[in-house]
Subunit: 344 residues, 2 copies
Amino acid sequence: MTGIRRLAQHLDISIGTVSRALNGRPDVNEETRRKVLEAAAELGYVPNQSGRSLRQGTTNIIGFMMQTGTEITGQGDTFFMSVFDGVQTVFARHHLDLVALLCSSEEDPDDYLRRVVARGFADGLILSATQRHDPRFEFLAKRKIPFVTLGRSLTDVGQPWLDLDFEGMAQTSIDRLVAKGHRRIAVTRPHDDINLGHLFVDQSARALAAHGLTLDPDLVFNSKPNEAGGYHVAQQLLAMKDRPTAILLVNETIAIGFYRGMSEAGLKPGRDIAIIGRQSPQSHFLSPSLTGFTLSRRDLGIALAEALLATMPAFSHFYPDAELRKVWPEDLVEGESDAFSLPA
Amino acid sequence: MTGIRRLAQHLDISIGTVSRALNGRPDVNEETRRKVLEAAAELGYVPNQSGRSLRQGTTNIIGFMMQTGTEITGQGDTFFMSVFDGVQTVFARHHLDLVALLCSSEEDPDDYLRRVVARGFADGLILSATQRHDPRFEFLAKRKIPFVTLGRSLTDVGQPWLDLDFEGMAQTSIDRLVAKGHRRIAVTRPHDDINLGHLFVDQSARALAAHGLTLDPDLVFNSKPNEAGGYHVAQQLLAMKDRPTAILLVNETIAIGFYRGMSEAGLKPGRDIAIIGRQSPQSHFLSPSLTGFTLSRRDLGIALAEALLATMPAFSHFYPDAELRKVWPEDLVEGESDAFSLPA
DNA sequence: TCGGCCACCGTAAACGTTTACGGAACTATG
DNA sequence: CATAGTTCCGTAAACGTTTACGGTGGCCGA
């Protein structure tokens, strides 16, 4: 005798009543409910998830899909860990288990997702590293699996998304640098088809245009989002005969490599080249200090979780006015890396 | 009509036979098996995991438990991601799904594990951030849940473990520094009860003793395993009146903060203080280059997976001679951070 | 011809839940 | 008192698998 049946026998009650009592159904006497909960605690009863899943076709699991290769996510910093932390706190309130689905760099993300879905693994999904055109969106929409994405995409199936304000960052950065007299400004973008690269570069071009300037195609650098990528960009950039006077770094970690590349060439950020990047725990240990954008990763995670739950029928009533689509604001922390101005 | 029943009806065969055919049982005609597999592929049939789990009490999931707080795991680098990658490749061969269980920094790891186990979440577990005395071991052993740990512990319930060679690193480092004339050598250790700290510090003391030296308790620094921790250690160390001439850094990321702390004080690694640490993708961008230990994280992950499977009855025959307990060797990469020698 | 063995397959019972349905006891209403 | 309504509870059928068990037919040897 196991599980709920044992509990029922111990109480001399039917298993149906026990189940109703545990699940908070209204049609059970409060006195019996108390007894059931008490006995459950005493016997250490915990419902079998397989049985429950089988019956109601739901797993109580939410998956957060990330890529393990540093190539894509730039996990040289703790960005995703912090976001995950925020997501977790929300789901914990609803007894939903959050797991990280780490797609190996060797495996195709689409295939990986297909496997996960086929297994009926999760009730909902959080996707990151969204591409400009992302087949995963349509796949999930077709299967009617609730999901939310960290990052926009041209593919739009009506799902909620949250995203960093790459366009705002580009705009602010360009305005700031132009005001200091810079004319030749370089930008970086991820080496693959991650959507944020397009947003960032396109807006940079528009912002420059508003000042009567153009974005030189030679000054758009594809960079892997890690230290090595930044180092490589520095090498390319410093070898140019008509070197730019400023650069925007779209990712947290590449600044570290870029600094290294400059110092090896005897150059100093904020004196020889102006740099605007993104803050991270690591970047605090750069010298000269990095001028860069920052945001609360944990709050972002919380908002992600709420947006997802808002689209799941069983939970939507908890979050009637969750923000389903939001560009997350960023603050600029002024450092020394873009300190100098150019003579007029 | 859904699932296996639909498949059976489509083939005009009983569901029992279909199940046997799919699961590779011997008592089914090869011709019918072929037909079944064919039809399954055609109809896109994939077995329902809940049904299967309910019946055989197994989930086909392996959980890799990590802590999300940078406090413990020092996730400023990609160490765990790389290990995870290695683990994943092994499990994929057996159609086991690997998920990362990220315990929030707010939650007690023991409680978290209890929840995971109570839910019957996984068939096996991989534990990291093992403590000197780790209650999780006994808990899992009592429940007879197969697990393997990345890291030793004084708590020993017979489970397999793999670990980095902290004692070897301490020994090698001390010998190397003493040979260069250093007498006052500092060491770092995690700020909490992670076991590796004890292994590292104790062996450092023994190695020093072999040279007729003693480890000054004032030179043992507790450090959070991240950049800020390293920075803090530097501040403390540099403020001492009888400053050490060398230091061992047990973690990958703290070197970055330590370098920063030194440079702010106008000091240079490898000239004013000798440093031996651990290599990571980030540390390649330190200047002067870091002398440190390195290992193949991916291979470590592979070995972890094999050790776990070797203890699971259903898979053990695949890995008859897996290494169940192993101290993983590390290579020393010579850099400039411990370049100088002291006058005799 | 008959008994025994083997290869293959169908039947049905489990696994642990949830929940639709109906019934019993009680209360309120006329 | 009869009736309707309410509150609570028990019964049993699902959910989709796996697998023990038994049965059927064919083959072989005596």
